[in-house]
Symmetry: C2
Subunit: 281 residues, 2 copies
Amino acid sequence: MKLSLAYLGPTGTNSETVALAYANWLSQNDQPEVVLSPYPTIALAAKAVANQEVDLAVVPVENSIEGSVAITLDTLWQLEQLKIIQSLVLPISHALLSCSLSWQEIKTVYSHPQALGQCQQWLEQFLPSVKLIPTNSTTEALQYLRDDLTAAAIASPRAAKLYNIPILADHINDYPDNCTRFWVLSLNPTTKGSYLSLAFSLPENAPGALVKPLQIFARQGINLSKIESRPTKRSLGEYIFFIDIERNICNASLQTVLSELSEYTEVLKIFGNYDLLTVQL
Amino acid sequence: MKLSLAYLGPTGTNSETVALAYANWLSQNDQPEVVLSPYPTIALAAKAVANQEVDLAVVPVENSIEGSVAITLDTLWQLEQLKIIQSLVLPISHALLSCSLSWQEIKTVYSHPQALGQCQQWLEQFLPSVKLIPTNSTTEALQYLRDDLTAAAIASPRAAKLYNIPILADHINDYPDNCTRFWVLSLNPTTKGSYLSLAFSLPENAPGALVKPLQIFARQGINLSKIESRPTKRSLGEYIFFIDIERNICNASLQTVLSELSEYTEVLKIFGNYDLLTVQL
């Protein structure tokens, strides 16, 4: 039996790099073979799992420079049957790709908005007058390069090799310690793993409404490795809080936290336990 | 003397609508006349104030559906000389603009990623097979419509009128209660206003590190109207917390909070006091 794995395509995206690394890791751990399936957006890749079109999806959650990927958090809140079964961290290196021979000729730079954001200071310093054009993925940006010698794209060195496009400048990230965290989503949760993600909305917007839930974690000595707010979409000023912690669901102090938490929250959703892998490039 | 006001252009953007409303409000309150100055990005509009190219800038902070505008928060943290002097809330209505006569012909939809996100369900229902192409602003999307009858753009009804492009469908937002909050930035803070924004980083990532600062607000009965985390950009898992509260800087309990807060935070930045205006369309 083969497992199908959805990711944000097309070939050459960072999501694909992570999907390949995950498939490789599964095969080394005597797990079933994986068939990769590209999707045009992150939301559609996640929904493919919910609709049982595929078994798994790999989706980006957070970049160390640009922050959370809002669509991933919103989709997880909406499709609560989706559970996280694995987290993967990918070190990110951006390069400037172009068919042009010199920087002076470049008038436009195409890339995913997160990649443009991660190279913003480099672009302001070395290509201050170029026009920045957002695309749906770093790979999609490459389609503009063949016919236009004044165009460049920000993508990975791997995409340069795959699409046979020269690299004009390498390591152009503004911050060297740039990585993106991904989640693998499935309908079948595990009870293994030392990380847990959950989210909740609050019953009222009153002084201390958020402090009470956070105090519950602090009392049990549980560190929040991440807290992020997203709008409830009902009205401006109402939020859903996404929290990552380091605890297994079978841990007694976590069970205490979860039962106390339900008293102080309106809706509480648990996205499951998982382990963290760092992708070696 | 005239005041210059930077905004995310070109003509027809929601930022311009807010800039015009703010200029109008100033003139009704016996304030100096305002000259509007469009900028290609939010970051450049904010930096124009820091560099003293302009007196003021209007920047989007948060949408009730899509959440915070990351670049605005990051820019404010970096350029701490910028202070918030006013907040404005704009009700948002999205329309589908096209030179095509029928929906069936539409193959691509251009718009700012936030606008595409705010109409995602509508697009999936009525135009499921179109290609979505992100642009730098809702107005920039309009440039593709004149020469391509298979293209549509999501923009405001005001932009449709300004650029004389037909509206194919109106009120296509997924959520009717859609509004965006803006800040007016200046180098000269006011001490008036009932709202205050601040941000801090934490000295250590330990259990309860975030709870301590939040407890200080709760003990003084101060409600947090918003909390948002952004990466410090140093390493994955380190955050800056942005907080909005309802208190004037001269309030004694707030002064207590701010002095206690500096004990539990690494860097603490106060972005100033301001009032909230709702823009009437």
